[in-house]
């Protein structure tokens, strides 16, 4: 901690992983194959997890890997395979030239707006606290203490509700993805009898 090499290390890593995230994202979005896209997205997520660590949010970084890269993206890949969509789409998956140009323009505008907004509303000159990660890491409450505090006090209700939400999502997903019963089949074959 006392090592003055540390901030530099952090900074270097931050830029490195930032670059990885950015490049991976661009590659992700230009892949034709869903499987490839999904894998590149996993890459983005890993990079982001690293960035979180660099920003002193180790717990969130862990969660990012576990939940996003580990669970959600697996589900995506699972669906891609289930539906047998692994091949590059034979259809006009990506919009034509004008669509891309328009999207690019919109994207530029969006970036410009976002940056302008960020610059105007966040005090970027503010110097970050000197050794934030260390404080958090070595605090009495450990790494997750500062998160657990608000989560189980101020946001307890929201937290509980997310569990309900997940339950609903599970049931909903099961119901939606379930194969239609005999009734549905019947309606598709008009002269069943």
């Amino acid at each position: 901690m006392e090592n003055e090499f540390y901030p530099l290390f952090y900074q270097f890593n931050f830029y490195l992983f930032g670059l990885i995230a950015l490049v991976s994202a661009i590659v992700f979005v230009t892949r034709k194959s869903p499987v490839a896209a999904a894998l590149w997205l996993v890459m983005v997520m890993f990079a982001l997890a690293a960035l979180y660590v660099m920003l002193g949010a180790e717990f969130v970084g862990m969660m990012q890997i576990l939940v996003y890269a580990g669970a959600i993206m697996v589900v995506f890949l699972f669906v891609v395979m289930l539906l047998n969509l692994g091949h590059p789409s034979e259809l006009n998956d990506i919009r034509g030239k004008w669509g891309r140009v328009a999207a690019g323009l919109v994207g530029l505008a969006l970036v410009a707006e976002l940056l302008a907004l960020g610059r105007s509303s966040v005090n970027t000159n503010l110097v970050l606290p000197a050794a934030p990660a260390g404080d958090i890491a070595q605090g009495t409450a450990g790494i997750i203490g500062p998160i657990a505090g608000p989560l189980f006090k101020e946001y307890l209700l929201a937290f509980e509700l997310t569990s309900v939400l997940l339950l609903v999502a599970i049931i909903g997903a099961v119901v939606l993805a379930k194969k239609r019963s005999a009734v549905a089949v019947d309606t598709e074959t008009p002269h069943a009898r």
């Binding site: 900074q11 830029y15 930032g18 950015l22 994202a25 661009i26 992700f28 979005v29 869903p34 999904a38 997205l41 983005v44 960035l51 979180y52 660099m54 920003l55 949010a57 969130v60 969660m63 990012q64 939940v67 669970a71 589900v75 995506f76 669906v79 539906l83 259809l91 006009n92 998956d93 990506i94 328009a102 999207a103 690019g104 919109v106 969006l110 970036v111 976002l114 940056l115 960020g118 966040v122 970027t124 970050l128 500062p146 998160i147 505090g149 608000p150 101020e154 946001y155 997310t162 939400l165 997940l166 999502a169 599970i170 909903g172 997903a173 119901v175 939606l176 993805a177 194969k179 239609r180």
Partner: protein, 97 residues
């Protein structure tokens, strides 16, 4: 690092947006949405340095919601695929009344 984080967040978000706008494969569009969510998460985390740990709490919530959303969304895609034999958004206009 804050400014860089936010800039990166904006860039990732915009990439997600461009993906949503240009792709027609429902699953990829969906993944782009996930990317946008991640971009936002990055902002939250970065800003939590400035404003305290609540930002990270929100990231947890976003992840939960993202997980729920992914489950339901993918289930819908499966359901639509069964019906239409396609995940191409151009073929899907059942939102029209």
């Amino acid at each position: 690092m804050l400014a860089e984080s936010l800039t990166l967040s904006a860039a990732l978000f915009t990439i997600g947006v461009i993906g949503v706008l240009t792709r027609r494969n429902a699953i990829i569009v969906f993944m782009c949405v996930e990317l946008m969510l991640n971009a936002v998460n990055l902002s939250f985390v970065a800003l939590s340095r400035l404003y305290g740990a609540t930002g990270q709490v929100f990231v947890i919530f976003v992840m939960t919601v993202a997980a729920a959303e992914a489950a339901v969304g993918l289930a819908i895609i499966i359901s639509i695929f069964r019906h239409k034999k396609s995940v191409n958004l151009q073929d899907i206009n059942i939102l029209r009344g």
